[in-house]
C-alpha cells in the first residue's frame, strides 16, 4: 500500500494547456465543413439508389432540389413531391423553378441544375412527369441524385 502511494506522488500532472488548442482545431474544421440544413423533410427521407458512374455536383449555390418519396403517413400511398418546405403537385414545379431563378443573377441561370432526390421505390412515371415539366420551361440541366457504390443490386429486387 505504501509503495503504491509513493509512486502516485512522484507522477507529474499532465498538462492540459494544449487541450483548448486541439478542441479549437476540431471546432474550426467542423465550422468550415458545416452546412446548415435548410429544408425540413415533410416526406419520408428518400432512400437514394446506388450508382457507380456518378458526377459530383459543382456550384452548390446553383442547385435546386426536388425531393420525391413516400408520405410520412403510411396510410397515404403514392409518391409525394417536396420542394423547399412544402409538398407540391407536379404542375407546381415550373413556378418553383421560376422562383429559384429569380433569386439568382441572370447570367447564372443557364448554369442552374435541378437535382432530383427520389426514393428508389418511387415510380418512374412521377420522375418523367417532372422531367417533362422541366423541359417545358427550359430547365434542361438535371442530375439524378444517387449515392456512390458499385453494388447496384439493392436498387431493384
Amino acid at each position: 500500500m505504501s509503495k503504491f502511494k509513493m509512486r502516485k506522488k512522484g507522477m507529474p500532472a499532465i498538462s492540459t494547456a494544449s487541450l483548448p488548442d486541439i478542441v479549437f482545431m476540431l471546432l474550426f474544421f467542423f465550422m468550415v465543413s458545416t452546412t446548415m440544413r435548410e429544408t425540413d423533410l415533410l416526406i419520408k427521407k428518400p432512400a437514394l439508389p446506388v450508382a457507380s458512374e456518378v458526377k459530383k455536383l459543382e456550384l452548390k449555390s446553383l442547385v435546386s432540389t426536388i425531393y420525391i418519396g413516400k408520405s410520412k403517413d403510411t396510410r397515404i400511398s403514392g409518391d409525394k413531391i417536396q420542394v423547399n418546405d412544402k409538398i407540391v403537385e407536379v404542375k407546381d414545379i415550373p413556378s418553383f423553378i421560376f422562383s429559384e431563378r429569380a433569386l439568382r443573377k441572370e447570367d447564372e441561370v443557364k448554369f442552374m441544375t435541378t437535382s432530383i432526390k427520389a426514393d428508389k421505390e418511387a415510380s418512374v412515371g412521377t420522375v418523367l412527369d417532372i422531367k417533362e415539366q422541366l423541359r417545358d420551361i427550359n430547365a434542361l440541366k438535371i442530375s439524378f441524385s444517387t449515392s456512390k457504390g458499385n453494388d447496384l443490386s439493392s436498387n431493384y429486387k
Binding site: T16, L26, L134, D136, N138, N155
Partner: protein, 204 residues
C-alpha cells in the same frame, strides 16, 4: 499614476466554451456531397420533324412495371446492358453522319465487330430507353448508370489509345487547370462517342 497589478485571467474555462461550440457544429454538420448521374434534357421544339432512323441504328431497351428488361426483344439482366450497349455503339458497321456537307466516314477508331446488322457509327447509334410508369426509380437509375458506364468505358479506351490517359483523368486534370488543349481533347472524345439517348413516352 499607480499601475494596478491585474491578476491573470483564468483560461481554464476556455476549453469548456470551445467544447460547447464544437458539439454544436458537430451536431449541425452534414457532410454529404450531392452527387448523381447528370443528364441534359432535350430542348422542346414546336416543329416536329420526322427523322428517318434505320432500325439497326437503334438499341431498344424496354423495361416493364415488374422491372423486367428487354433489349432488342431479348430478355436480359441489368448487368448485361453495359456489355450490350458497348457492343452496339462500338460496332461501326457503316458510315457516320455527314458533317458540313461532306459524306460520312467509316468509324476508324471503333473496335467492334463491324456487323452490318448493328449500328453504323457511334454518331448514329441511338439508345432508346422505354420505361413503364410503374417501373421503380431504382431500376431506371440502374439502367441509366449502365448506359453512362458504357459511354465512359468507350471514351476511356479511346482516350487511352490516343493520349495515353483515360477520359476520367483528362476530366480531373481539366478541373484542376482548365486549358484549351485539354478542352479540345475532351470535346473530341465527346464528339467521337456522343451520348444519344432517347426516352419515348412511358407505357401507361
Amino acid at each position: 499614476m499607480a499601475r494596478r497589478d491585474i491578476g491573470e485571467i483564468n483560461a481554464g474555462s476556455m476549453a469548456d466554451i470551445a467544447f460547447l461550440l464544437l458539439i454544436f457544429f458537430l451536431v449541425t454538420t452534414t457532410m454529404d456531397v450531392d452527387s448523381g448521374i447528370a443528364r441534359k434534357l432535350p430542348e422542346k421544339t414546336d416543329v416536329q420533324s420526322d427523322v428517318i432512323v434505320k432500325e439497326k441504328n437503334v438499341m431498344d431497351i424496354v423495361v416493364n412495371r415488374n422491372n423486367q428488361l428487354l433489349v432488342e426483344n431479348e430478355y436480359v439482366k441489368v448487368t448485361d446492358v453495359k456489355r450490350l450497349a458497348i457492343k452496339f455503339i462500338d460496332n461501326g458497321g457503316g458510315f457516320g453522319t455527314p458533317v458540313d456537307g461532306k459524306p460520312g466516314e467509316p468509324c476508324d477508331y471503333c473496335e467492334g465487330d463491324k456487323d452490318p446488322n448493328s449500328s453504323d457509327h457511334p454518331s448514329k447509334a441511338i439508345i432508346s430507353l422505354q420505361s413503364d410508369r410503374g417501373t421503380s426509380y431504382g431500376m431506371y437509375i440502374s439502367i441509366q448508370n449502365e448506359i453512362e458506364g458504357a459511354y465512359n468505358e468507350l471514351r476511356n479506351t479511346l482516350s487511352k489509345k490516343l493520349y495515353g490517359r483515360t477520359y476520367d483523368e483528362l476530366l480531373n486534370d481539366y478541373k484542376d487547370n482548365p486549358s484549351k488543349s485539354l478542352q479540345d481533347k475532351i470535346d473530341d472524345l465527346k464528339n467521337k462517342y456522343p451520348q444519344i439517348i432517347t426516352e419515348p413516352e412511358p407505357i401507361k
